[in-house]
Symmetry: D2
Subunit: 169 residues, 4 copies
Amino acid sequence: MTKILKNQLNDHFQELLNSSNEEELQVLSSLLKAYDDKKNNKYATYLSALTQIKTRFLENGDYEVLLPIQPLINNPLKMVHGGITATLLDTAMGSLINRVLPEEKAAVTAEMNVHYIKPGIGEILRCVAHLSHRGNSLCVAEAKVYDDNQKLIAMATGTFAIINRPQSQ
Amino acid sequence: MTKILKNQLNDHFQELLNSSNEEELQVLSSLLKAYDDKKNNKYATYLSALTQIKTRFLENGDYEVLLPIQPLINNPLKMVHGGITATLLDTAMGSLINRVLPEEKAAVTAEMNVHYIKPGIGEILRCVAHLSHRGNSLCVAEAKVYDDNQKLIAMATGTFAIINRPQSQ
Amino acid sequence: MTKILKNQLNDHFQELLNSSNEEELQVLSSLLKAYDDKKNNKYATYLSALTQIKTRFLENGDYEVLLPIQPLINNPLKMVHGGITATLLDTAMGSLINRVLPEEKAAVTAEMNVHYIKPGIGEILRCVAHLSHRGNSLCVAEAKVYDDNQKLIAMATGTFAIINRPQSQ
Amino acid sequence: MTKILKNQLNDHFQELLNSSNEEELQVLSSLLKAYDDKKNNKYATYLSALTQIKTRFLENGDYEVLLPIQPLINNPLKMVHGGITATLLDTAMGSLINRVLPEEKAAVTAEMNVHYIKPGIGEILRCVAHLSHRGNSLCVAEAKVYDDNQKLIAMATGTFAIINRPQSQ
């Protein structure tokens, strides 16, 4: 049965490959890379693999997430899709909190408020998240997204519930 | 040059095909379908094609968006990724408003507030958006997401700025 | 010492009384009534006494708070002050949750999102709060404010943390 | 008719004066001061006069609002009422924007998101508002409230619609 599925997928892929123009092929390449990266655990989710985000702590304790802009994540107006921007902000705030919590705890988003300020265009969106309040049961974070010219693109605040980390996975 | 890219992509695809298990192949199939659907204008963005949402107006004027749950959109805890849920809510509210506006106008999200209430699990998430206020320069909408058992999964409100629709595209 | 304070207050009051026009006297009357009502425990806070809100459960389990519009709560544009509208929404949602919780628990507002839609003018603002989600540690509520003509004036959602009720008071 | 009202108010006042304890008299004093200050245009609204806020621009362009804590603005748990904190945040953000706009323009709150972090206790709450984005039709601001020990008490973001300033009144 897996064999049949593989044959079908290959047929579909050959057809898509033949009918694609160069811009579309770039997207197809992004999709295969995302699939590969998730498969090899370079990313924990397909969504983060699709966005190819890069994360790091800054020296002041804030948390930075870089998002390369590519056709795959754009809306029909050729700007970054608002859902992707929201994902970027949520990921930055949630990851920051999860990284400062003790190992047996996890943070889940209870609430997020996003302001969209300018279109997300250019090469890279840079998101910086800051931990505003660290409580025992609730944390509050804020995050801002900037474009290549350091212009503010979007900003958010979020409330995160601290729970006991589910076992395994 | 396109030829070289096609050969590279095909090599990468064959390699991925050979090394994938059945669950992974289902995701690969979803990725190819999304690419195909966007290519053929069944969806306006790759993100909506990836999520395979289905939309319709309800009789009372509300707007419904159905999102099939699939591994592609899950987080590591096998629940729908919060960024996808935010995208679903934003899409439902924004699409509703764009569909009730005159043709020369468009709505862009100025602000969105999302409450995450329960994990998104099961077969389908159903989002229903309602137009709370229709103004000349600002509209306000609200939306709720339910699971297969009609349990509330998430809810949002949004402020949308009404602009003159950009030409073409 | 209390005697001296009383004399000072009386002097101040007589001076204010003499210099007030009729519209101002109505406000002065409202202030004294609020002070009296809080003193006699008709209201739990000076702020609620100043606003003279009336509350009740509706048959469907929602919670209604009526706010009479008076000069005391207006902004310079002779509309209800946005801070009063926010207070009305917060009070309605928080009171609803506190009334459905067991006696040893209390709800405190963790986060509130308010949309201001139309000016609050007329005789009475009517706020209706609905419990969207009842969790063990977090509750989510939504509320809407209507004017005399049932037009939507404002709406809000809120996240409330459930805590053990502090002793006494 | 004004004479009769004055007599009634005076009777009521004397009765309240006689039956009040010292803590209550402090509140009565605050109420008279607020009434006086609004009457003499020291404050534009009764609500701001009741809260006795003090405002100023900081050197970096941010806007500071100081709120003295007094029994008049507390909730039954002897902390600053959440509605007052929301008013403080809204006032700080809205005043900041109104002060940077040209004279013929005004800002009205379209949406505000408030996070309550710690109880408002002590001598003074200090709110600092920052203009995050200045657009032609929408502005976005953020504000934080600190207690005497510079601990974060609450934070907010807001979306403000820019309108033509209504003529006089």
